[in-house]
Symmetry: C2
Subunit: 96 residues, 2 copies
């Protein structure tokens, strides 16, 4: 198995931006301590603050799958589910 | 001015995937040599190989603007313009 890069984009409802921001920031510390988590970086769009992007790198697909079974990930998904309008997750491979 | 993160996603036409891949790979070497280019990383989606994402970090907006004035950037834009169905560029700020 090889490294997997995750690019996850989510868009908060206009009246939930700060609440979503609180939840996504909560993910940083516990996720970065997970075994196999190489990189876990969060970004907010400068023009549209409702848009957040996680840029992640994981040792392999298996540890990424484990990540999605953690308590903090499940709590995050539950917490934001009613506060977002859109979410896309790309599993990718670095090129070059 | 502070660091700016760029997340750029482009989708190739189904019959132009390899041609677009050639063009995006060509961007890596000259761009990484540009002054103020902190990070310039390319990814291809595992499930849909037509989807490419650049993850970039630039010293500030000014050097990113300069990047878009370079010969290699202009040549790349011209080369892929008829070969892609979609392109989004997010200018972002890292959080946490």
């Amino acid at each position: 198995m090889s490294k997997v890069t995750i690019v996850a984009k989510l868009t908060a409802k206009s009246d939930c931006i700060e609440a979503v921001k609180t939840e996504v920031i909560k993910m940083l510390a516990p996720t970065r301590q997970e075994e196999g988590c190489i990189e876990y970086r969060l970004h907010q769009d400068n023009a549209d603050p409702a848009v957040f992007v996680f840029f992640e790198n994981w040792k392999d697909q298996a540890v990424f799958e484990q990540h999605m079974e953690t308590e903090h990930f499940k709590a995050y998904v539950a917490a934001v589910s009613d506060m977002i309008t859109d979410k896309t997750v790309h599993r990718m491979t670095e090129v070059g």
